[in-house]
């Protein structure tokens, strides 16, 4: 928002400042709850509150013991191991199926495109608890309930909508004459896909993949239904941790997850700018 023009009316002046105040409040309420856990995770005590030592910046009030707990306690390391085992595989499945679906749905001759799209996107719209309950009953019947692949498939289904949406968005700018040009120059469909189409929609594929990864990594409802004790993921462990033993280790985990998320989103943004440059939207 630029500076106020000299001809602004009183109403416009009031709105100009009110707008800034509203924006500041939104940021405050969104970010403060996340920021406040970061210093708390360095608490030397086993409480969720700021101790007098912390408030007076006494080094004795701070400690890394919750981080140590996270990396040594078998409950937490097991959960981390499960999350790291499930999320990447679920992401790969989401990216593969989501990308193919997006490319297929971009073809004008596919019948019932809107309906198919709506069905594929539905895991994002239907309340999670309903999807989770549905998956529980379905997976129980076919013997997937409580298995590693059950959780992976459930998370892949949750991630596919993100991939479809981001890839479809990049496909909008994709010029169909490029695939024709590739065919005309002698490239078969497979070479055309990997050499021409894929590099151009890659930013959409990667950012969709990151969203799918974060979905799987943060997901608690579905895994509670579909998983068993041996598929206990990080969010599950955090959930039980909050219920059963209120330990600031949760804050340490939360801090680590926040940093990981910021890292991933930064990657998305860098990729997006790179793709814009490639397509000539902004000067290289």
């Amino acid at each position: 928002m630029s500076a106020l023009p000299p001809y602004a009316t009183t109403g416009q002046r009031v709105w100009y400042y009110a707008f800034r105040v509203i924006c500041a409040l939104i940021f405050l309420f969104l970010i403060i709850p996340i920021l406040v856990i970061i210093p708390l995770s360095f608490n030397a005590e086993d409480f969720f509150t700021f101790t007098p030592e912390m408030l007076s910046f006494d080094p004795a009030g701070y400690s890394l013991k919750h981080y140590r707990d996270f990396f040594t306690n078998p409950d937490w390391t097991g959960a981390l191991y499960n999350s790291v085992r499930i999320a990447p595989v679920a992401t790969l499945l989401s990216v593969g199926f989501g990308t193919l679906a997006a490319i297929g749905l971009a073809q004008s001759h596919v019948p019932f495109r809107a309906t198919i799209m709506a069905i594929l996107i539905s895991p994002m719209i239907v309340p999670l608890i309903i999807s989770a309950a549905g998956m529980y009953f379905f997976y129980s019947r076919i013997g997937l309930q409580g298995t590693y692949w059950g959780v992976v498939l459930a998370h892949a289904a949750l991630g596919i909508p993100f991939v479809i949406i981001t890839v479809t968005a990049t496909m909008v700018g994709f010029d169909r004459s490029l695939t024709r040009a590739a065919a005309n120059l002698g490239a078969g469909p497979i070479r055309t896909f990997f050499k021409v189409q894929m590099p151009l929609i890659l930013p959409g594929v990667v950012s969709g993949g990151l969203f799918a990864f974060i979905t799987s990594f943060d997901e608690v409802v579905v895994v509670l239904f579909v998983g068993s004790a041996s598929q206990k993921t990080l969010p599950w462990q955090m959930f039980t941790g909050l219920r059963e033993q209120i330990s600031p280790t949760i804050l340490a985990v939360a801090t680590i997850l926040v940093i990981v998320s910021i890292g991933l989103l930064t990657t998305v943004e860098i990729l997006r700018r790179r793709s814009e440059r490639l397509r000539g939207m902004s000067p290289g």
Binding site: S177, A183, N184, L185, G186, P189, V196, L278, R279, G280
Partner: protein, 362 residues
């Protein structure tokens, strides 16, 4: 340019039809034979079926009926990537994620050429379009004219025998477009490659082509050399579409020795070549080019009264709009030569023509 026949044509359309919806034919019974090394232009208004024909030749559309032959072999069942036809697309279709050199190298890689051979061929093609120093740039860093040259080089780099061009100059400004017309023409002459060119710009077609196929309504209205097309149009559509044209409506009174005598409705008579008119008593449209009309001759068989409506000074000639036999869009080009006749708006004079310059059409 010898006219190709169905037997020795390099590209042959044999009774080709195309319909997108199974009801309306976009291309109706196309028969076209293109000789090796020929520069053939498909000219027509949008929706006339010319681009569809090009797309069928490239393999991006399939003919509903009929055969398309390339070098004597039917290509209906060959996928686009195995046809070995070069193509310049309307929007260039350069790969944005590759440099210019990588774009040109792509068809050579597909064909399994070695690295050094590829580099030599890419350089040769870039030099041909005078873009030798631009190999390392990306398409987005080039101007429209430069991108057009790269697209041309990419269509030629793998030495196809046939190159298709789909309105390649449409996005360029007038001056650049004219320059590129000559350049494409010269490259065609130098390489001897067969070119099928699609455009809706008649001056582009006249400048570059060996032969022009004028399309309208899914049918070739006339297939002829540029001078034939301009001077001897077969029907009223071609006469209207190519160049500027005046029309006069009348009824055929008599036909003798190929010359039709036409009554303009009020007893005034005029003579014209009987090209495409039915017998005595039928309606006809006379077509005459503005530069073939004389002003001021009082006598002669084709002297018709005319009223000057508008004069536009254009330097080398004066454009005079007149009312002739009820047509108030009748245009005459008066050359701005020494001693030319000075006309005044509102003045009544006579226009006349040689019977051979006026054509009685459908």
């Amino acid at each position: 340019m010898p006219t190709a026949t169905k037997e020795d044509g390099f590209v042959v359309f044999d009774h080709v039809q195309k319909s997108y919806d199974g009801e309306i034919l976009v291309v109706k019974d196309l028969n076209l034979f293109i000789g090796q090394g020929e520069f053939l232009t498909m000219l027509g208004p949008s929706g006339s079926g010319k681009t569809t024909c090009l797309m069928m030749l490239a393999g991006f559309e399939t003919a509903t009926h009929g055969d398309i032959l390339l070098g004597g072999k039917p290509i209906n069942n060959i996928p686009p990537h195995k046809r070995g036809i070069g193509m310049v697309f309307q929007n260039y279709a350069l790969f944005p994620h590759m440099t210019v050199a990588e774009n040109l190298s792509f068809p050579l890689e597909v064909r399994g050429q070695g690295k050094s051979e590829r580099e030599a061929n890419v350089m040769k093609a870039l030099d041909m379009v005078q873009m030798g120093e631009f190999g390392g740039r990306r398409p987005a860093q080039l101007s429209g004219g430069q991108q057009q040259r790269i697209a041309l080089a990419r269509a030629l780099v793998f030495e196809p025998e046939l190159v298709l061009m789909d309105e390649p100059l449409g996005a360029l400004d007038k001056q650049l477009r004219e320059h590129m017309q000559y350049e494409i023409k010269h490259i065609h002459e130098r390489l001897g490659v067969t070119v099928v060119y699609v455009t809706h710009d008649q001056s582009e077609a006249l400048t570059m082509s060996d032969r022009i196929a004028v399309f309208d309504d899914g049918i070739i209205q006339q297939l002829a050399t540029p001078d034939d097309l301009y001077e001897r149009p077969d029907n009223a559509f071609v006469a209207q579409f190519i160049g500027e044209n005046n029309t006069l409506n009348g009824t055929v009174k008599a036909i003798k020795d190929g010359i039709a005598t036409v009554d303009f409705g009020d007893g005034t008579l005029g003579e014209a070549l009987a090209v495409n008119c039915a017998g005595v008593g039928s309606e006809t449209t006379l077509s005459i080019r503005p530069e073939r009309v004389d002003i001021g001759k009082e006598s002669g068989p084709n002297a018709v009264p005319a009223k000057v409506l508008e004069l536009i000074y254009l330097g080398d000639h004066i454009r005079c709009r007149m009312n002739v036999m009820g047509n108030d869009q009748f245009v005459v080009k008066v050359p701005n030569a020494a001693g030319h006749k000075h006309l005044v708006v509102g003045e009544t004079t006579k226009v006349s023509w040689n019977s051979e310059d006026c054509r009685a059409l459908d």
